[in-house]
Amino acid sequence: MAVYKRTYRAYEGEITPSWSRFLVLYRFSRRNLFRSKFQTAFFVLCFFFPVLCLLGIYANSHLSAFSFLGNRGSPFLDINGSFFVIYLSVQASLAFLLTAFIGPGLVSPDLANGALTLYLCRPLSRTEYVLGKMSVLLITLSWITWLPGLVLFFVQASLAGSQWMFDNAWIASGLVIGSLIWILVLSLLALALSAWVKWRIVAGALLLGILFLGAGFAQAINAVLRTQQGYIFDISKLISIVWHDLFRDAADQPFSVTEAWIGLLAFAAFSLLLLMRKVRANEVIR
């Protein structure tokens, strides 16, 4: 065809920076997230305990208001590392349940519909795809773990004074680091299960199974081999050791914090490996 006859004109406008593309996946996945009334109600319910803690912190520093209850002015709550370990344990359990509801629906529909081909024939790499899908869990779970935790920390700091805040700054960092490592492990585990198990309900059940069966398996190993090393298969024990260390809460632990960190990171790495094996533009059937 003669060149002058060609009417094709390419797009010549501005385009958004490539680093921000994964957020498109987050925006569109988030829409589906709160379509279910149950999920929305559960998400709202996750704020009940932080609100209760907030009221407790407030009441703790305004004891005179509760003199009619016979309180003689001594604080009934110690706002310290142990308090935030309890807070994080409750919120992390809720985060786990929320992940079991949300996680399985993130990757499996794309694999079932062959949509990965369409994603990856755009300027979006496999890593960005995983990051986009993971950001749904990272952001949603952050809303119920470390973000309200930091609010509690700063409320307590505003009531107890700036000295308390500087003396206990490690609580804030513990909240962020402790929550993020838990969210990371949960997200990768949920995405890996979503990629390998087609049915959402089965994938959700498997996620719960990994937590409870892992704990059971750990106990069985400990009992049979008369050891404490079986806990390496128990994610809840591993994260508990890390949290107690981050919040300087002394407790008898079966193994060192370093080993717990290695165990958690190994879980995350194994999940990532499983996930990346499935997130491909094409599948070779031998």
Binding site: M1, Y11, C121, R122
Partner: protein, 312 residues
């Protein structure tokens, strides 16, 4: 050659499984059809063109863009896979809009490009309906729209005519033709050989991971020496004409047509045969038509690949 899709000695192996082997191609603008039985390497070739997989050996350049320039490559190429990848919860418009955002278009540009693509496939009325309520033809058209929405110059379409009724099929073929006329590359795979014949400017015949033939189908046919060309002649005196042909050493076989108003000639040298026909016309034979009957994709496919697997 900046307007060509070039494969230079490209091989792709999935472990020990052969995808394609030693492929050399130079595809000009226009409609190019990939034809071959299942497992012949058509989808591998398409995946290589779209940058979804990298070759094990050799190099690929899409209009002088290599797969090492993903941002540029993915803006150049549009892909419509054979999978029905429409999320049921999204509307047709949202489906196209969301994928446009992944290209880096801002909201206003995505909106404009999405509507332009929707208009091109004639789905404006249904654009705000959920994809779950679309018919198969509508789903196919919205998938085509997503592949053209970012205004690519190379369109790779895997089985794009599957599931379309005859009317929509004709409209879709017209759409392909209009893209080709704009100077775009339309690369499509199809199992329907008579359609390939009608719409393609050139074909690539694949077999067992190798390119069996490529180019204009008539040119490919003329290269096949093992099978003499079959030519149907409609004329008033077929018996006399047959006697005339028997004297020529390039004529392999002559058969008089059942209605006795024509004859089928097999010749090993079509050029000499046509020269002969010129002389015959001057000798007073009334020749109504002279037409080759086996220079279509179906025949070439059968001669080269030796299977009727894809024919319908």
């Amino acid at each position: 050659m900046t307007d060509r899709i070039v494969f230079e000695n490209v091989s792709k192996f999935y472990g020990d499984v052969l995808g394609v082997n030693r492929v050399n191609l130079s595809i000009p603008p226009g409609i190019t059809s990939l034809v071959g039985p299942n497992g012949s390497g058509k989808t591998t070739l398409m995946n290589l063109m779209t940058g979804l997989i990298r070759p094990s050996h050799g190099s690929i350049r899409i209009l002088n863009v290599t797969p090492d320039q993903p941002e540029k490559l993915f803006h150049t190429v549009g892909y419509c896979s054979q999978f029905d990848s429409l999320p049921k919860t999204l509307t047709g418009y949202q489906f196209i809009y969301s994928y446009l955002q992944l290209y880096g278009f801002d909201s206003a540009a995505s909106d404009e490009l999405a509507w332009r693509a929707i208009d091109r496939v004639g789905l404006r009325e249904a654009a705000h309906r959920k994809a779950a309520g679309y018919s198969k033809g509508m789903r196919q058209r919205i998938r085509l729209a997503q592949s053209i929405a970012h205004n690519p110059r190379v369109l790779v379409l895997d089985e794009p005519l599957n599931g379309l009724d005859p009317l929509v099929r004709a409209e879709t073929i017209a759409l392909f033709r209009s893209w080709a006329e704009e100077g775009c590359h339309v690369i499509l795979s199809s199992h329907v050989l008579h359609e390939v014949d009608i719409i393609s400017d050139q074909v690539i015949l694949m077999s067992g991971g190798y390119v069996a033939a490529e180019g204009n189908i008539q040119a490919v046919r003329s290269e096949i020496q093992d099978h003499p060309m079959q030519i149907l002649i409609r004329c008033n005196r077929p018996g006399e004409l047959a006697a005339r042909f028997f004297g020529e050493n390039h004529v392999v076989e002559v058969r008089i047509h059942n209605d006795r108003r024509g004859l089928l000639v097999k010749t090993s040298d079509p050029d000499r045969f046509y020269l002969l026909m010129n002389r015959i016309a001057l000798d007073g034979f009334s020749v109504e038509s002279v037409a080759p009957v086996d220079d279509d994709v179906n025949s070439v496919y059968e001669y080269l690949i030796g299977s009727k697997e894809v024919t319908q």
